[in-house]
């Protein structure tokens, strides 16, 4: 990342119907913009979905991304979220080896410190659910690595502006 490139969080309200994710992701591919993460789910109105897209780039890139997104007819609304006024969360499921009882106990302790949950227990592994901003999840994964991380599934960032700021439909 060059100096003027940074992470931008874009929140887009789109029609919740087949093909829209394709239109959106295809626009990124076609225009050569790289998606860092994208998460999609139903929004407050069930016929709308909210996409949270994070990209790295300079101000010009993000400006063009927003304009190109707005141009897609099924994209209803687009906002750039200011990180200072935004709640961002990511969820990760991490499967960790538990070679012995000591390891198992350490992992459970760490999980509690990170306010995570053990969601699956087997003889030789645990699955842990952690939510938080990406830094927190990265930190937790680093902590787990010595035990042997077998699998990771991350959702990518999802985000909402704080307080009364709102980008939902009028």
């Amino acid at each position: 990342m060059s100096q003027d490139e940074k992470l931008h969080i874009i929140s887009a309200i789109v029609e919740h119907k087949p093909g829209v994710l394709h239109s959106v992701s295809n626009m990124f591919r076609r225009r050569g913009f790289n998606i860092e993460s994208i998460s999609v789910g139903v929004a407050e109105q069930e016929d709308l979905a909210r996409m949270t897209i994070t990209i790295k780039g300079d101000e010009r890139t993000v400006e063009q991304v927003v304009k190109q997104l707005k141009k897609i007819i099924d994209v209803v609304k687009v906002s750039i979220l200011n990180p200072a006024h935004t709640v961002t969360r990511e969820l990760a499921l991490i499967k960790v080896s538990t070679p012995d009882a000591q390891a198992r106990s350490d992992i459970i302790n760490y999980t509690e410190i990170f306010k995570g949950h053990v969601v699956d227990v087997a003889h030789e592994s645990l699955i842990i659910e952690v939510t938080g901003d990406s830094d927190k999840i990265n930190a937790f994964i680093e902590l787990m690595k010595p035990f042997g991380v077998k699998e990771i599934a991350r959702t990518g960032i999802t985000a909402l502006p704080r307080g009364m700021r709102s980008i939902k439909m009028e």
Binding site: E15, S23, N26, K67, Q68, K70, K71, I72, I73, D74
Partner: protein, 559 residues
């Protein structure tokens, strides 16, 4: 509410959109619609290739300003439309393309003649729809025409599975369009207009750059008013040709890689550039970094995403070109003291004379002379279409255009084979205007099969084949930039165009002089069948001026 099949509802919807003509080719997956067309009042022109159907719809749209319609079956029919749709997309031409699709139960099963045309056309349409319930047809068709013809115009594709065409449903034709994500803003922001007016008022050397958007929004008279008030010369892009009469003293002609001397020299000297309805394509600007470096740029465009995409303007105005120019004029006229720009006007005249010199220095069948002489005998309202390559650039440089919508060329995609089917579409839209396709041999043989449709359907156009037996523009690049290594450009044997035309029931004539060409064209204009005029030219001819790719506009080669 009235009960009917999807196919019938489609025809009814097209009638409500006042569609008069469809260019297309039937096939299994669209047969129910064609069955309804059998007794419908809408004219269907059977083309010989779906690509031509799409180009014809495109030519129809550009000549008339209305939506062009094309239709094809699923699979190969649909994919053959793709080049034509991409062409319309790049040049913002309003067409609606209908494709049949395999029955719903077969979708995704790689059924016979199935393709994912929605997936394929997503990046080359403004919007596309697959209709999966017959009852949706009235609303989706209405929406498609609305999207294609408003804002920045463009192609829309509608894909209809065969069983949806035969399904019966209650149809509501008085349906409202609701598009939450498609809100049009046509009005310029008053503050931005004021800023633009301040700049223009104080400009010493204002230049206007007019793109296809000026023609699309019918803003040509507003453009002329602003230009005359400011005494600002007007350069056009390829697609902007016709936005100002090219015999007007303020007209500079086309700018860009093959721009005129005047346009390329003058635009680089501008202190304020008013760019309207152009996307600053690379063929227009040359090196972006060295484009209009001393100028403050005002950019008017209906498409927000074009603002700052290639060139960062000082004053962006997102608006319809007509409304924006009207508003600028209204503000300017109150305050502007009309300036004399004697010295500058003299300079413009001098550059224009240099361009004329290129024509006059040539003898025999040189394309510049050929085409400027040809222009003299054509009526002002003659529609000129072009193929792509040298023929196109010679036409753009040497055939002066006096009215909007009379120069139709494939700009963005540069589609060889575009000009002839586009000419058929233009002639269908404007049967009382002569239509002339300036062609190259390489381009013409890409879509020449539609001579058949021109004859069968009585759509007489004139095709002038500048015949040099090579892919001329590629050969020019190889000559200039690849040390004359002519790799794969020699066509070797092109057909005898006279016989080819006659084989289809059209007329063919070979000419060997400017006089013979004029005579043949005059005769063809009176004829009721298409005429192909074969004009042998040298394969060594270059299109000049030429700015090498990525170069600065005012540093061009002249020979």
């Amino acid at each position: 509410m009235v009960k009917m099949t999807g196919a019938k509802a489609l025809i009814e919807s097209l009638k409500r959109e006042k569609v008069e003509v469809i260019f297309g080719i039937p096939g299994g997956a669209i047969l129910p619609v064609y069955d309804e067309l059998y007794e419908a009042s809408i004219r269907h022109i059977l083309m010989r290739h779906e690509q031509c159907a799409a180009h014809a719809a495109d030519g129809y749209a550009r000549a008339s300003g209305r939506v062009g319609v094309c239709m094809a079956t699923s699979g190969p029919g649909a994919t053959n439309l793709v080049t034509g749709i991409a062409n319309a997309y790049m040049d913002s031409s309003p067409i609606v393309a209908f494709t049949g699709q395999v029955p719903k139960a077969f979708i995704g099963k790689d059924a016979f003649q199935e393709t994912d045309i929605i997936g394929i056309t997503t990046p080359i349409t403004k919007c596309n729809f697959q209709i999966t319930a017959a009852s949706q047809i009235p609303k989706i068709v209405k929406t498609a025409f609305h999207i294609a013809s408003t804002g920045r115009c463009g192609p829309v594709l509608i894909d209809i599975p065969r069983d949806t065409q035969t399904e019966e449903a209650e149809m509501n034709f008085d349906v409202r369009i609701d598009l939450r994500g498609y809100r049009l803003n046509h009005d310029p922001h008053p503050l931005q207009v004021k800023k633009a007016v301040d700049l223009l008022m104080n400009a010493e050397k204002p230049v206007i750059l007019a793109g296809g958007g000026v023609i699309a929004s019918n803003a040509c008279s507003e453009l002329l008013s602003v230009a005359e008030l400011l005494l600002a010369p007007v350069a056009t892009t390829l697609l902007g040709k016709g936005s100002i009469p090219e015999n007007h003293p303020l007209s500079l002609g086309m700018v860009g890689m093959h721009g005129t001397i005047a346009a390329n020299k003058i635009i680089q000297e501008a202190d304020v550039l008013l760019a309207v309805g152009t996307r600053f394509a690379d063929r227009t600007t040359g090196s972006v970094k060295k484009f209009c470096v001393d100028a403050k740029i005002i950019h008017i465009d209906i498409d927000t995403s074009e603002i700052g995409k290639n060139i960062r303007p000082h004053i962006p105005i997102v608006a319809d070109a007509k409304k924006a120019l009207k508003s600028i004029y209204a503000n300017l006229v109150q305050i502007l003291q009309r300036k004399e720009r004697t010295e500058w006007m003299r300079k413009i005249k001098e550059f224009k004379d240099q361009q004329e010199g290129i024509v006059n220095s040539k003898e025999g069948l040189s394309p510049p002379r050929l085409l400027s002489e040809l222009r003299k005998i054509l009526p002002e309202n003659a529609i000129i279409t072009t193929e792509v390559g040298q023929n196109q650039m010679w036409a753009a440089l040497y055939m002066k255009v006096y009215k909007p919508r009379t120069f139709i060329s494939s700009g963005g995609l540069g589609t060889m084979g575009f000009g002839f089917p586009a000419a058929l579409g233009a002639k269908t839209a404007c049967p009382d205007q002569p239509v002339i396709d300036i062609a190259g041999d390489g381009s013409f043989i890409m879509t020449e099969q539609d001579l058949a449709s021109s004859v069968v359907w009585g759509i007489p156009v004139t095709v002038i084949v500048l015949n040099n037996s090579v892919l001329g523009m590629v050969a020019q690049w190889q000559r200039l930039f690849y040390n004359r290594r002519y790799s794969a450009v020699n066509l070797g044997k092109v057909p005898d165009f006279v016989k080819l035309a006659e084989a289809y029931g059209a007329q063919g004539v070979k000419v060997g002089s400017v006089e013979e060409l004029k005579e043949a064209v005059m005769k063809s204009l009176k004829s009721e069948v298409t005429t192909v005029i074969d004009v042998p030219i040298s394969s060594e001819e270059n299109v000049f001026p030429m700015v090498p790719p990525g170069g600065e506009l005012d540093k061009f080669m002249v020979g």
